[in-house]
Amino acid sequence: MLKIYYFGRLSDRAGRREESLALPVGVNSVSTLKNWLDTKHGLGGALQDKSVKTMINQSLIHKDIVLQGDEEIGFLPPVGGG
């Protein structure tokens, strides 16, 4: 199963902070997963926004990668504490 986390403002857009799902039919990469989630939750392209970073198994990715179906995926809008 994929474990997906939506952080910050993305959790408002997705209406959830996390979800688990099997790799959907036709989805085999981060980019196709983003498109699939965008349609499923009506995100209006929020995951494709350049300010949103993607982590796979808690590591930042800088290019599209193939998914096996058992990854932890985090979608991170701009961060900041203090």
Binding site: F7, G8, Q58, P78, V79, G82
Partner: protein, 146 residues
């Protein structure tokens, strides 16, 4: 040293405990960040983290500070969860033999925390809730160190 806490902490007590461990340092600099009320616009601040990722990033920033300045040690305590106006969000303390290294490394760590630390801030007030992201000034401050 790093602690991410979902309950309030007392910065004075924590700073005293820190200074007790740094008897051989000649200087300690510290910064305490508080929830700003903004003239009634804010009643609550909620911070969320990405457990594991947040800790790793801050630990790396502390290591960078230790490579850059001759620090005896450094402390970061950061809140997550719900906080009221005036409550401490963060305490950074750095100890060194001399003041300049302590001041600068404390400043460096705060700039990291403001722009790169993996937290998200949800500000709640009478007009509703909104997500707070770093300002351009915060990014400019951070770029002073690159």
């Amino acid at each position: 040293m790093l602690e991410i806490m979902d309950t309030p902490f007392n910065p004075g007590e924590r700073l005293n405990a820190f200074s007790e461990k740094c008897k051989d340092a000649g200087a300690i600099a510290s910064f305490i960040g508080l929830v700003r009320g903004q003239k009634g616009e804010v009643s609550e601040l909620r911070l969320e983290s990405y457990p594991g990722v947040t800790e790793q990033g801050i630990e790396q920033a502390i290591e960078q500070a230790k490579k850059r300045w001759p620090l005896t040690t450094a402390l970061v305590i950061h809140r997550i969860g719900s906080m009221g106006v005036g409550e401490p969000i963060v305490l950074v303390a750095t100890a060194s033999k001399h003041r300049r290294a302590a001041f600068e490394s404390c400043d460096f760590l705060m700039d990291y925390l403001k722009t790169d630390a993996v937290f998200w801030k949800h500000q709640i007030g009478p007009d509703g809730a909104k997500w707070i992201e770093p300002r351009e000034q915060d990014y400019q401050d951070k770029n002073r160190w690159s």
